[in-house]
Amino acid sequence: MFNTFFPILVLIVLATIIAIAMATVSVIFGRRTKGGAKGEPYESGIKPVGDTKERIPVKFYLIAILFIIFDIEVVFLYPWAVIYNKLGMFGFVEMLVFVVILMVGYFYILGKGALKWD
């Protein structure tokens, strides 16, 4: 258990150290100029209008939720692929059924034009 995950632990520790180090280094060595044009997103560009809390259109949400549904499909593919050799033809057919049913959903999305950005 410990041996298996030791590399991951090392990775996490290293990543944390590097992140903290970069933040500290910039705090120590960085020059600080406050206020004025420095605070703006584009220092010599267009003046920002409003704030960042804009409402985004529902289209993004549709794409996101469709992504999640197919993401979950992929989650099912992952363990299936691991034992594919053991399952053989039987496994192939069952995944075929699964994917075909979802494929219907994909064609439905295309048929309804849900992915069109208009």
């Binding site: 219907v104 439905y108 048929g111 309804k112």
Partner: protein, 487 residues
């Protein structure tokens, strides 16, 4: 996998493919003719019913899919309620729903497929997925009038409450799995009694699991105190969907409850197992449902809200039969749901037609209806009197059986509560009849239901009267279906 009889899956697979076909049909005919979609949905449900009569009996996937009598009994109720919901949707589909008509019908069929899988589930995971498949289409259907604030609110409320209750149910089911080491309900029953016999105690984990499952299914059943969502959702959703929710989805919850509690946890039904018994919890909830549902219904001015509270009360009566946890109890629950299908679908169909014509759901606008549309008023009276339980209509026999089962199991106090609240319920049911018949107002509207809606009304009325006077065949069938539990 050679001895498996795959044909028992045919009704479900057919209905699933038919739902996809309706989606395709809607895209194919460019949303021109809504009637074709409705008729093909009705045809699909009829064919599914016929297929169910041909291909049934047996188990599949090592018992995960059981096509037993209980499943078939409830599948008939599901198909019936979907059929009637589709039948009463024709006017809505041609006027109010301009987009996604195919999806409207298709999702009703999908939900029905989910209910059919649920009622055949003899295993917790399948049962859970069946329940999700039942409710997810209903979330969408409840919010189907996308421009109507009430409908969107209904969909959102139903989604949030439904998601929470699913999570709670899942907690309960996983605790049950943790306690027994199996997801199969029959094996669960055996393991629990083995542990109990060997060690004499199980610990509070089981009661926590039972409370969570009761809460999870209670939300779907709109059992008090998990009923808060029901009036708002019932009011906002399109009326045929409300009807489908109140009959089909409730029957699905009832069958899930029966499978888990009356089969899997039957050993813990009576108070012999104190404090690990679920009977008393459910009995108290049932009493609360009957009292609260009936008394709140008295004050409603909107027919859909009134029927919502009435259906909260009705599920209380169903639960009286359920806590009896006997063969007669389950049979009476089955019979009750069967009659409830006709009475409630009929009443909601009338509310739909009336709303299509007048745009109003207020009880007051039904005044004097008997003068212009006497048949229509007579139908409504029959449905309401059956819901109240007046002989010789079906509702009377149903209530009688449920009460008999309750008394037989020793829940005399619960039956007394049920009797008293039925008297209360008569008041608000009769109030609508009074409004229709004895109002001085001269109505101007005349109701002409479309052909499918007429068909639905006719089926409901015939069902109520016929099975009220001759309860024999349905009761025998319900008793047969209760036998699978091996009390």
């Amino acid at each position: 996998m050679t001895d498996q009889n795959w044909s028992i899956l045919i009704p479900e697979i057919f209905l699933f493919i038919w739902a996809l076909f309706i989606f395709g049909l809607d895209l194919g005919i460019k949303r021109k003719n809504p009637k074709i979609l409705g008729y093909s949905a009705m045809a699909g449900l009829t064919i599914t019913g016929i297929l169910l009569a041909i291909f049934n009996g047996g188990i599949l996937f090592k018992g995960m899919f059981q096509s037993d009598q209980l499943a078939i009994f409830f599948k008939v109720i599901f198909i019936g309620s979907a059929f009637m919901a589709v039948g009463s949707s024709f006017d809505i589909a041609s006027e109010k729903i301009r987009h996604h008509r195919g999806e409207y019908y298709g999702l009703i069929l999908f939900s029905t497929v989910g209910m059919m899988f649920l009622s055949s589930a003899s295993e917790l995971i399948t049962l859970y997925i069946g329940m999700e498949l039942t409710t997810i289409p209903l979330y969408v259907l409840a919010a189907f009038y996308k421009d109507d604030k009430l409908s969107v609110e209904a969909g959102l409320k139903y989604l949030i409450v439904g998601a929470f209750s699913s999570a709670i149910l899942l907690y309960g089911l996983s605790l049950l799995y943790g306690l027994t080491g199996t997801t199969d309900i029959v094996t669960m029953k055996i393991n629990l009694s083995l542990v109990f016999l060997s060690y004499g105690k199980i610990g509070p984990g089981l009661i926590l699991a039972m409370i969570m499952v009761i809460a999870g299914i209670g939300f779907k059943l709109a059992l008090v105190p998990f009923h808060m969502w029901a009036p708002d959702v019932y009011q906002g959703a399109p009326t045929p969907i409300t009807a489908f929710l109140s009959v089909g989805s409730k029957a699905a919850g009832v069958v899930a409850f029966a499978r888990i509690f009356v089969n899997g946890l039957i050993a813990f039904a009576s108070d012999v197992m104190k404090p690990l018994d679920w009977g008393i919890i459910v009995a108290i909830l049932a009493a609360a449902a009957m009292i609260l549902g009936n008394i709140t219904a008295l004050r409603q001015r909107n027919i859909k809200r009134m029927l919502a509270y009435s259906s909260i009360a009705q599920i209380g009566y169903v639960m009286v039969g359920m806590v009896a946890a006997s063969e007669l109890g389950i049979a009476s629950v089955g019979y009750y749901m069967f009659i409830y299908l006709f009475a409630n679908m009929g009443a909601f169909t009338i509310a739909t037609i009336f709303n299509d014509k007048t745009g109003s759901d207020g009880i007051i606008s039904y005044s004097g209806l008997s003068k212009t549309s006497p048949i229509f008023a007579a139908y409504m009276s029959i449905f309401l009197l059956s819901l109240a339980g007046i002989p010789p209509l079906g509702g009377f026999a149903a209530k009688y059986l449920v009460f008999a089962a309750g008394i037989q199991a020793g829940y005399t106090w619960l039956v007394i509560v049920a009797l008293l609240t039925s008297v209360v319920s008569l008041y608000y049911y009769a109030n609508i009849i009074k409004t229709m018949y004895f109002s001085a107002e001269e109505p101007t509207i005349k109701i002409h239901p479309s052909f499918p809606a007429n068909l639905v009304l006719l089926i409901s009325v015939i069902g109520i009267i016929l099975f009220g006077i001759f309860p024999g065949p349905i009761l025998d069938w319900a008793l047969e279906s209760a036998k699978i539990f091996a009390f």
